[in-house]
């Protein structure tokens, strides 16, 4: 039984949900959570392109002939680490915003900026 393209469609649904959380919610921590969901689903899209049916992990061993392509793994490894750095910096900014404005809801921050 072959999945065909269902894998990609569910991953696209996850990607769009992450994007929806980023653009529609006003709370800054929830925006970072949505960004993380978006990033993870992009990684899943890339990794599923490299898989070979009947292959194994790209580590040379005895008895295996077919290997999954190693290149998407390498690219996504870098992307994961960059993603966690972005998350850490975003959360540090949120802490400073809370101390400066007293709130982390986006509309309240804009209201304070417009009133000032």
């Amino acid at each position: 039984m072959s999945i065909g393209l269902f894998n990609y469609w569910i991953v696209i649904f996850l990607m769009m949900s992450g994007l929806y959380v980023v653009i529609s919610r006003g709370n800054l921590v929830k925006k970072i959570v949505g960004l993380n969901i978006f990033q993870v689903s992009v990684f899943m899209l890339y990794i599923s392109m490299g898989k070979v049916r009947g292959g194994t992990a790209p580590i040379v061993g005895e008895g295996t002939e077919i290997y999954t392509h190693p290149l998407p793994s390498v690219l996504i490894l870098t992307a994961i680490v960059v993603g966690v750095t972005t998350t850490a910096l975003g959360l540090a900014l949120i802490i400073r915003i809370q101390e400066a404005y007293g709130t982390i809801e986006e509309d309240e921050i804009h209201a304070q900026d417009d009133a000032a």
């Binding site: 999945i3 392109m49 490299g50 994961i80 910096l89 540090a92």
Partner: protein, 185 residues
């Protein structure tokens, strides 16, 4: 068999994301994000990307969750109740999703050995020639550290820059035992 595990993990993740969108208690949202990262690590293992699964489980379900909980302890724990779902973001998301699905219609199906990515000569170079040229059984490490070593230097610099950024942003006010605050120069 692998397809069943694959679809089960993906459906769990879909359910979790739907709950994350609706929930207002930020503590529960952060915990669910940790579980989401762990499920994605399981999915990466099923797709044979074991290095990526290792990193995602350690980083996503470990470090990200801890940092978000630390942020929640310094800010609020509840999201402000929002009104009805806004229409414009939903429309943007549906249109973008539709375009992406249209773009995947010509992709090779999942796991196809005749996909273009496997016909490129680079695949042969990495899989067949790298164990002799570099001598390291793990192809991902040999590509990461030897063939694409320059990119990995850039990534290490990005991690270092992140630490410098956090030190600049949060290095000022530290907690003292007697409750008085002190500003580091």
């Amino acid at each position: 068999m692998i397809e069943i595990i694959d679809m089960a993990l993906l459906l769990f993740m879909v359910g979790m994301v739907v709950v994350i969108i609706r929930m207002q208690s930020l503590f529960a949202v952060v915990m669910l994000t940790g579980i989401f990262s762990l499920l994605s690590a399981g999915l990466f293992t099923v797709m044979d990307a074991v290095d990526v699964a290792f990193t995602e489980a350690a980083v996503g379900a470990g470090i990200s969750t801890v940092l978000m909980l630390a942020t929640l302890s310094l800010t609020t724990k509840q999201e402000k109740a929002s009104g009805p779902e806004p229409v414009l973001p939903m429309l943007v998301v549906l249109v973008t999703g539709g375009l992406l699905v249209y773009g995947t219609l010509h992709m090779p199906s999942f796991g196809d050995p005749d996909a273009p990515i496997h016909q490129h000569p680079l695949a042969e170079e990495y899989i067949e020639k790298s164990p002799e040229k570099v001598g390291v059984p793990n192809m991902v490490t040999s590509v990461l550290a030897s063939y694409r070593g320059y990119d990995t230097l850039g990534e290490t610099t990005v991690v270092f820059t992140g630490a410098v950024g956090v030190l600049l942003l949060l290095g000022g006010r530290t907690r003292r035992r007697d409750g008085a605050e002190e500003d580091q120069p």
